[in-house]
């Protein structure tokens, strides 16, 4: 629900309730004052009648408004107020009247004097109040509606513009700017704060990006020097065999460091979402192509490859990461399948499955995706391949599960 709808609804509800209460109060106040006034008037009427009897000796009689006659059997008493119904000849209906009567002595004689007047009909009063309150309420709603429309068009307009601009925000757009808002104060502040926040996000992202690139440079350059020197050293013709072996071993280990750094930085960069450029990647072709890389390994282990690859499975994603994921999964399957075993690859529009035969592993499946986790501790692999696969899947919102079924280690990815 939009903000304006929400406030409007609240306005309507609360003002409706307030008007209802006001109506009830007005009704009671008006009828109280009216009756009070009526009582005063009737008492003064009685006073007039008394005066008239005292001065002129005439007993006025204007039924039903004034009624007076002499009484003998009734004792004197003070004012008595009753509401009665009196049949009206002209309107042919009973009309409620208020009556105040008194028995009093005038000039030594006792008189019964009653003064009456028509009471407002309660129904009439209620209707009148309802009409008045209702029309004021409608007027209020109408003006509220127009004020809000104007507000939403004018006052809220910068808010909605800022919102639209924010929707376009992405951390890899270094030139992102919000249009400044001059009024009202709250939106000015909001926009300023948002601008600070987005700038911070952008600069954090940029410095993180620079850091990963710089650390890559700072580590790989010395390694490049070491490796090139070792390679040159290996060229000396009178190198003894054990010396050469030592140099080779240093060479291999420095290469291992370099690879490790590369992979760790790759993981960091995936986690930081530093692969924004996306394009249509044909997974059908990619898998076939990368499978070629493992030709020798497949042949060497006499593996049977069973493929069921639907052609033209195209996904919008980062090419480099897609490539990395496919290589890692194939490498994992080829490496861990038993000799003369099988590797099965199934690719459908939204489903990729790769499995290899092998003995079951005694580890929880979640552990397989952990960094540096190796089933075979002595293996010289980094234990990062599946961690990379997992990160890439997470980044792309693809689901990945591992299961062991019917002698097959299966990795299933849902796009």
């Amino acid at each position: 629900m939009k903000l304006l709808q929400k406030t409007n609804r609240a306005y309507f509800l609360i003002s409706g309730l307030a008007f209802l209460i006001a109506g009830v109060i007005i009704y009671f106040v008006i009828s109280f004052f009216f009756k009070d006034q009526l009582n005063e008037k009737l008492k003064s009427d009685i006073g007039d009648v008394e005066l008239s009897i005292e001065r002129n000796g005439t007993i006025p009689d204007y039924y039903p408004f004034i009624e007076a006659h002499e009484v003998q059997d009734q004792p004197e008493r003070s004012y008595e107020t009753v509401d009665t119904l009196i049949f009206d000849e002209t309107e042919k209906e009973n009309i409620p009247f208020r009556e105040i009567s008194v028995v009093t002595s005038v000039n030594g004689k006792r008189y019964y004097i009653a003064a009456r007047d028509a009471l407002f009909e309660q129904g009439d009063l209620l209707t009148t109040i309802a009409i008045v309150i209702g029309s004021v309420f409608m007027l209020l709603l109408l003006s509220l509606y127009f004020i809000n429309r104007k507000l939403s068009l004018k006052i809220w307009q910068p808010f909605y513009r800022t919102l639209d601009e924010l929707k376009d925000f992405s951390h890899d757009k270094p030139d992102f700017k919000l249009t400044p808002v001059s009024e009202p104060y709250e939106f000015t502040e909001l926009t300023k704060t948002l601008e600070k926040l987005t700038n911070k996000v952008i600069s954090d992202y940029q410095s993180l990006k620079r850091f990963t690139e710089d650390s890559s440079h700072e580590i790989q350059t010395p390694l490049a020097v070491i490796q090139s020197k070792l390679e040159t050293l290996l060229q000396y013709p009178d190198l003894k065999r054990d010396q050469a072996e030592m140099i080779t071993s240093i060479y291999i280990y420095s290469q291992r460091i370099s690879r490790l750094i590369q992979t760790l930085l790759l993981l960091t960069r995936i986690a930081n979402d530093q692969f924004p450029e996306k394009r249509a990647v044909n997974f059908s072709e990619l898998i076939e192509e990368k499978l070629q890389l493992f030709e020798d390994n497949i042949l060497g282990k006499s593996l049977t490859i069973k493929k069921s690859i639907e052609p033209e499975c195209v996904l919008e994603t980062n090419f480099f990461l897609a490539e990395s994921m496919v290589i890692n999964l194939i490498e994992n399957a080829v490496k861990h399948s038993n000799a003369e075993g099988s590797v099965n690859i199934t690719l459908e529009k939204n489903h990729f499955e790769i499995s290899n035969s092998g003995t079951p592993v005694q580890v929880p499946s979640s552990k397989l995706f952990e960094r540096f986790y190796k089933v075979n501790k002595s293996s010289d692999s980094q234990g990062l391949g599946l961690a990379i696969v997992k990160e890439i899947c997470t980044l792309n919102n693809w689901g990945i599960v591992y299961e062991y079924k019917e002698g097959l280690h299966k990795f299933i990815i849902r796009f």
Binding site: H217, K229, E231, Q235, A244, S254, D296
Partner: protein, 225 residues
């Protein structure tokens, strides 16, 4: 053949220079952005090796300078910034190849030779070593004039050896050349061995001499003796 090496790590420049000069290539060096700018404005080069991270400026700007100037040079980017952006931008801007640090000197040499061949600076796409003749356009190998049938990988390995002849080539360098950077080399030593065995067999079958020498525990060397 004149080569300009633009790289700020002096020790690395020295080894690269030594290696390439042994190949008969003339090398000049620039250790900073400004030195590079100076050198580029005065001389013409056949190949420029460019590191993207330089003191004094962004290496990518130098690509513009090279491409907008009157250099006809083949451009090879060597960078430790393996950020794909740089690779794509660099290649889009007109770089001919991209090599990630650290690299094998043999690989660098092979890339440079390939670049020179592609630009026809050597006038021909044929490499001749005694009785072996390789046509790099058609990917054919002739021994004593007879064509021999090599697989794609065997061809790549043989070409790599001839390009880096008289040098000890490590198995890691061969593995990386054939399978790329994405797969660790150690698993592939056995396959290298069997590919090399096949190459030997095929060359010997056409009465070619065996120039491939095993260097135990290290790798191989392709040489006359």
């Amino acid at each position: 053949m004149k080569i300009l090496i633009i790289e700020d790590e002096k020790e690395l420049v020295k080894t690269i220079k030594d290696y390439l000069e042994q190949e008969g290539l003339l090398c000049e060096t620039a250790y900073s952005w400004f030195e590079a700018e100076d050198a580029l404005s005065v001389f013409k080069y056949d190949i420029i090796i460019l590191d993207l991270t330089l003191p004094g400026g962004d290496g990518l700007d130098l690509i513009k300078l090279i491409k907008n100037g009157n250099q006809q040079a083949g451009l090879l980017i060597v960078s430790a910034r393996d950020s794909l952006d740089d690779k794509i931008i660099g290649l889009d801007m007109g770089a001919d190849d991209y090599l990630t640090k650290p690299f094998h000197l043999a690989e660098l040499n092979s890339r440079i030779k390939s670049l020179l061949r592609r630009r026809h600076f050597e006038g021909s796409s044929e490499i001749i070593f005694n009785e072996i003749r390789i046509n790099t356009d058609s990917n054919e190998v002739f021994i004593n004039g007879n064509i021999i049938d090599l697989t794609k990988k065997e061809f790549e390995i043989l070409l790599y050896f001839i390009t880096n002849k008289n040098r000890v080539i490590t198995r890691e360098a061969i593995a990386e050349h054939v399978w790329g950077n994405s797969i660790s080399g150690a698993d592939n030593y056995d396959f290298i061995y069997s590919h090399i065995k096949n190459i030997r067999r095929k060359i010997e079958f056409s009465s070619g001499r065996d120039y491939l020498h095993n260097i135990y525990g290290i790798g191989y060397k392709f040489s006359e003796k």
